[in-house]
Subunit: 299 residues, 2 copies
């Protein structure tokens, strides 16, 4: 059974494309519309069956594609870099407000969400506004992804057995929260609610810090050392291949929590260096055993 | 064509077991003998076809297994943690010296190597000794491995398309170097010669530092954060599952070069923190772009 007759995905890259593929596979939507500034993304997304129709015209995609007013989105998923989310949500809400419902129909109720890796900055811009003329925003963050990018790397199983964090504001309606939970569950994910602040503080430690550590390691690689790198170096630096523009937005929109995580890591790195400096090999073993125990627990 | 009629592998864990499997597959040896303190390793290694025969008796394995003096090893691969390599190489040389060659035969020529991740400490103990009574040591480091351990995780393709570094002393004979190069090439690896010091300095940056960074990250994981970890955290911390005893030996035998790599990383981490503190998002983007370029070049 479909949950929405029409889903509009803003930005059909790896994340948006995977939302489209999974929604298709799970028959979550009657029709999936893609909006992207990049025509080649739309072509690739159509070719892969990610979207039914696509356009580079934002307002047309959100409200009018197909030519009749009844074709307004029921769910909009903004899958752009974090720095663009608030702007696109507001533009979508304005576009929807500009399209009056057909005579005799109730006001439009359009749910808007995103897939961004930080939540506080976006939610503080959007969640205080109870109403967008019949559109409601609830932030989502599916903890899934890849260092790759573009619709050609989208995957219909990207969200399976993953966790999606949603961050409803106090004003969010239960019916909308329930619908969004169902949506992510249908895509294969489990769902948890946290506040935007809690989300950003945790993800700074589990995602944003690892990304930066990986990038520092990759950035420091000397050309003459390349041939001596093995699979370990590759694993540890895999994240560094992520798109700089995406990660610039993530870091700049969560710099407080990230700085806290970085400073904590600096202290732990200093402690380890001092263990090595004083040749405390039992201390080193205990340190390595703690780390292994934590890592083994992740499976 | 076999290169050696008899190879003895000291320590049939993941590395030693993979040497055995690959040597079998490539028909490098007539007979492969396993020596391990752990009887369950020997049983698993026999079951998987890693070794033809195995023993927990070191001297028997090196010289006498099978009952005749002609059964002395031609190649001994010491595949123990680095901290035990020098001791086992010396014990092997003594055992061989104690077995006189059959009447009319020339003195025994047994080549001994290892698979250890650090070379200076071992080579400084061994390479200055030109002669071990007919045994010669040349250090090897196949840059291949896994965070897993034990013969059950050994792989016959572990060395394929990898690099093996060998570190011959000035006294090493060309014929032995040539034989060792052939051996690793037959196992699928390319081979490069470096000095022990150069090896240790490079590997501190490309392998030992990434391991420690991974362990710090894993060790700092809070239990309440576990459910929020994704594939990125898992990649970045994969190395932390390595055996603490193995990595204690690696760090303690290469602490000088590792400390240099750690201090350099600390400076780079501080620089990045300062970029974030002053909200220099263009500087952050440039930093992320450099890292991505280096990482993409690794393929």
């Amino acid at each position: 059974m479909t949950l929405f007759s029409r889903i509009v995905i803003i930005g059909v890259g790896l994340m948006g494309g995977s939302v489209g593929l999974a929604a298709k596979k799970k028959e979550v939507a009657g029709c999936i519309v893609g909006v992207d500034r990049d025509e080649t993304h739309l072509t690739a997304a159509r070719d892969r069956g990610i979207i039914d129709i696509g356009t580079t015209d934002f307002e047309e995609g959100v409200c009018r594609l197909g030519g009749t007013q009844s074709r307004v989105a029921e769910l909009i998923v903004v899958a752009t870099p974090v720095g663009l989310v608030a702007e696109y949500v507001q533009r979508a809400a304005e576009a929807i407000r500009s399209v009056a419902p057909p005579r005799g129909f109730p006001p439009r109720n359009v749910l808007i969400t995103d897939v961004g890796s930080t939540k506080s900055a976006v939610c503080s811009q959007l969640c205080s506004r109870k109403d967008f003329g019949g559109s409601r925003f609830i932030g989502s963050h599916p903890i899934a992804g890849s260092e790759r990018s573009g619709p050609q790397h989208a995957s219909e199983v990207l969200f399976e057995n993953r966790l999606t964090v949603i961050s409803p504001s106090a004003a969010a309606r239960d019916v909308d929260i329930g619908l969004l939970v169902q949506f992510w569950q249908r895509l294969g994910s489990s769902v948890i609610c946290t506040t935007p602040e809690e989300h950003d503080s945790i993800l700074a430690r589990t995602s944003h810090l690892p990304h930066l550590l990986s990038a520092i390691l990759a950035g420091g690689l000397r050309s003459q050392d390349i041939r001596y790198t093995g699979t370990g170096f590759r694993s540890t630096t895999r994240l560094a291949a992520g798109l700089p523009a995406v990660w610039r937005d993530i870091v700049s929109s969560n710099s407080g929590a990230i700085l806290e995580a970085v400073r904590d890591y600096e202290h732990r790195l200093r402690d380890l260096r001092e263990i090595i400096e004083r040749k405390d090999w039992d201390g080193l073993t205990a340190f390595l055993e703690d780390a292994k125990q934590n890592r083994d627990a992740l499976g």
